[in-house]
């Protein structure tokens, strides 16, 4: 039964496309991604083992390939909000990075209508610097111009609720404050294709409500959204499609969000979700929202 919906959206059917109802924004075509990891496996990495290796004329065996994504194909359309679920290490984050063009495919291609961006600037920020400088730095890293930053600055600081701490080094912030500011910076930009990697709902309860609202806003403005989350309820609430990954492959994908999530929960040995037999909504939500 999942298949009916799935068949339609796997959309390798030209006829479907020819109608021109929906416009594809992201096409993943037989994608493979391989990481190369140094210094793992067998070799203890000491000088003597390195010497022996050289003597035996072996090229470094310590390079281990990790095949993070092993062949995936799907199409995402304008207006889609796609949840990506799966266990740790199933390739969810790697898939997002490949869509954003941050990781080169080993084989296959990801096509996008415009640049896809990950929500998050943590890596560009420097803990030693003041919040103020970090706001500017983060915005520059996201590709905003100086005038854009000037326009958004007050809004960012205001949204983060950091207050007068903005002049202090970020390392002096509490973890909640830090993540609030990071979120505020990242969310200052509008995205056409938005990739969210479990960056949601940080900080205290009040900020969580605020950040949820902001994400909804971004989501509405973005053409296509990919959401990686362990919080399955989040996926259920906001996504119209789900892709279930396991060990770098798609186990199941389709518009039957609830069905796929239930099967995923079963497969991972989780507790069954109690659902209303008619509406299929969760009966007892563990949290208020």
């Amino acid at each position: 039964m999942a298949r009916t919906a799935d068949g339609a959206d796997s959309a390798t059917l030209p006829a479907e496309v020819a109608e021109g109802v929906t416009e594809p924004t992201v096409i993943v075509d037989d994608l493979h991604v391989v990481y190369r990891v140094y210094g793992k496996g067998g070799d203890r990495g000491t000088a003597s083992t390195a010497l022996f290796r050289m003597l035996r004329r072996k090229t470094r065996p310590a390079i281990r390939e990790v095949h993070a994504i092993r062949g995936m194909s799907f199409v995402a359309y304008r207006g889609d909000a796609i949840g990506i679920i799966g266990r740790n290490g199933s390739g969810k984050s790697t898939l997002l990075r490949a869509i954003a063009g941050l990781l080169p495919p080993e084989h296959g291609t990801v096509y996008t209508i415009c640049d896809a961006s990950l929500l998050g600037v943590n890596a560009a920020l420097m803990e030693d610097l003041s919040g103020e400088r970090n706001v500017v730095l983060g915005c520059l890293a996201m590709g905003m111009t100086k005038t854009e930053i000037k326009d958004k600055y007050a809004e960012i600081v205001d949204f983060s609720g950091v207050g007068e701490f903005i002049n202090l080094a970020m390392k002096t912030y509490s973890s909640g404050m830090g993540s609030r500011l990071r979120f505020a910076i990242a969310a200052a930009k509008d995205y056409e294709i938005l990739l969210i990697d479990e960056a949601l709902a940080t900080g205290d309860a009040e900020f969580r409500v605020k950040s949820h609202a902001r994400i909804d806003e971004l989501r509405n403005r973005a053409g296509t959204v990919f959401l990686v989350a362990h919080d399955l309820e989040e996926v259920e609430d906001t996504c119209n499609r789900v892709i279930w990954l396991d060990r770098g492959k798609i186990v199941e994908q389709g518009e039957d969000v609830i069905g796929i999530i239930d099967r995923y929960i079963d497969a991972s040995g989780g507790e069954k979700v109690a659902r209303d037999p008619v509406t299929r909504k969760r009966i007892s939500a563990p949290e208020l929202d």
Partner: protein, 429 residues
């Protein structure tokens, strides 16, 4: 074409110890193109389910899923290359595609604010832990120069004897060379250091080595300010010649940007490069006439090692150092090769004065002995200090600009192309 590509990928797939066999099997049996296979591998599916969860009720669902998947595969099979065609039809472009040089350059231009912002931020952050803070930006080069002066100016004083105004000579050399040295070493680690950033945001990766060059440029400009104060205290006259230091340092910055991009890609590919680099840099330091006069060396040894001394003079670091020294130091301008018309007698008189006091005639090249029978000039005779101006070896001072510009352009172009070619691969680590 697609399936052959995926076949060739097959063996390479797996050092992660998972048998790829069932996949390939199903693919051949069904004659399916690569495109259909990955979505819902009919054989792989049950295996995973069994491995993942041993509950009995589950395998049913798994089987059903597998069956459906095969239907889907047939569908997808008809559409080989359809995804690519679809992408082309709607004007979608590969996300991890290397941009053309033109686009790349304009992207870089648009990111210039980021490059400068990143550089300044890192410069500020670097010293926040230290009590003296930003003062270290000035103190570090001063201490550096102090150490060299102690060793080569005071302890091994024979080095300094031949060079007029040795302290200024040395400090200029140290400051200029350390710009190149620090750039080379820091950019060789820039990709590894910034991997989280590379894996989070999309921007032209050349921004990173360029930002590091800008960091070192800011550092170098500060040390130049220190240098100016130092030479003024030493009594160096303030002249228009000083302005020549600006184009000289600009050329050096371009050169460093080039080698920075070269080092960034090399360091990203070969991790051991960063380990090796300090030794290479130290060798380069000693070959670049930072702490001794290349001119003197050239004249002393050109008889026996002509090619080596030519290489020594063509060395880009030596050229840039000479350009800055000539701009700032009157003694250097007066003593630089070729600033006076060629005069063999005066040149050799100078060279003779450079002879180490206890050198035996056999060590001393025959040519000089022929011209110069007289006892060496006293050390403070003007010719023994500035006579080198009458010598015209391979490279005289008016050539320096030409070669400096050549090195800068060549390094920048080659370094940029070298870096750009691997643009999409830096995220892999």
């Amino acid at each position: 074409m697609k399936s052959t590509r995926s076949d060739s990928l097959g063996p390479a797939l797996d050092s992660a110890a998972e048998p790829p066999a069932p996949e390939t099997g199903s693919q051949e049996a069904g004659g399916q193109p690569a495109i259909g296979r990955p979505q819902q591998p009919s054989d792989g599916q049950p295996t995973q389910q069994q491995a993942g969860q041993p509950q009995a009720g589950q395998s049913d669902a798994g089987q059903a899923e597998g069956g459906q998947a095969e239907g889907g595969q047939a569908e997808a099979g008809q559409a080989e290359g359809a995804l690519a065609a679809l992408a082309a039809h709607y004007g979608l472009r590969p996300s991890a595609q290397r941009p053309t040089i033109g686009t790349y350059l304009s992207e870089l231009g648009r990111r210039w604010n980021f490059i400068m912002g990143f550089a300044t931020a890192r410069n500020v952050a670097m010293y926040t832990e230290a009590k003296l803070g930003q003062l270290w930006q000035v103190l570090a080069p001063l201490l550096n120069a102090g150490v060299y002066f102690l060793i080569f100016g005071v302890i091994i004083s024979s080095v300094s004897r031949a060079v007029p105004d040795f302290l200024a000579f040395l400090v200029t050399g140290v400051f200029v060379f350390s710009f190149t040295q620090r750039t080379f070493i820091s950019t060789s680690k820039v990709i590894t250091d910034s991997l989280p950033l590379i894996r989070a945001l999309k921007f032209p990766r050349a921004s990173l080595p360029l930002a590091y060059v800008m960091i070192e440029l800011q550092q170098m400009l500060l040390s130049m300010a220190v240098l100016v104060v130092l030479v003024l205290i030493e009594g160096e006259p303030l002249t228009w010649h000083w302005l020549l230091a600006v184009p000289a340092l600009a050329l050096l910055t371009l050169f460093n940007a080039g080698i920075g991009m070269f080092a960034a890609r090399t360091g990203a590919r070969v991790n051991d490069f960063a380990q090796l680099l300090p030794f290479l840099m130290r060798t380069w330091l000693y070959l670049s006439g930072v702490i001794y006069s290349i001119q003197q060396f050239v004249v002393l040894h050109s008889q026996n090692y002509g090619w080596a001394t030519t290489l020594l003079q063509l060395n880009p670091a030596a050229i840039f150092i000479s350009l800055v020294r000539d701009a700032l130091l009157a003694s250097q301008r007066a003593s630089a090769f070729g600033t006076k018309p060629f005069d063999a007698a005066k040149c050799y008189a100078w060279a003779g004065a450079q002879r180490p006091p206890n050198a035996s005639p056999s060590e001393w090249s025959a040519a000089f002995n022929q011209v110069h029978h007289r006892p060496p000039l006293p050390r403070h005779h003007p010719l023994s200090q500035y006579g080198s101006a009458y010598c015209h070896p391979t490279l005289i001072s008016s050539h320096l600009w030409l070669f400096g510009a050549g090195w800068a352009v060549a390094a920048l172009l080659l370094g940029f192309l070298f870096f750009w070619r691997k643009e999409v691969f830096y995220g892999r680590g």
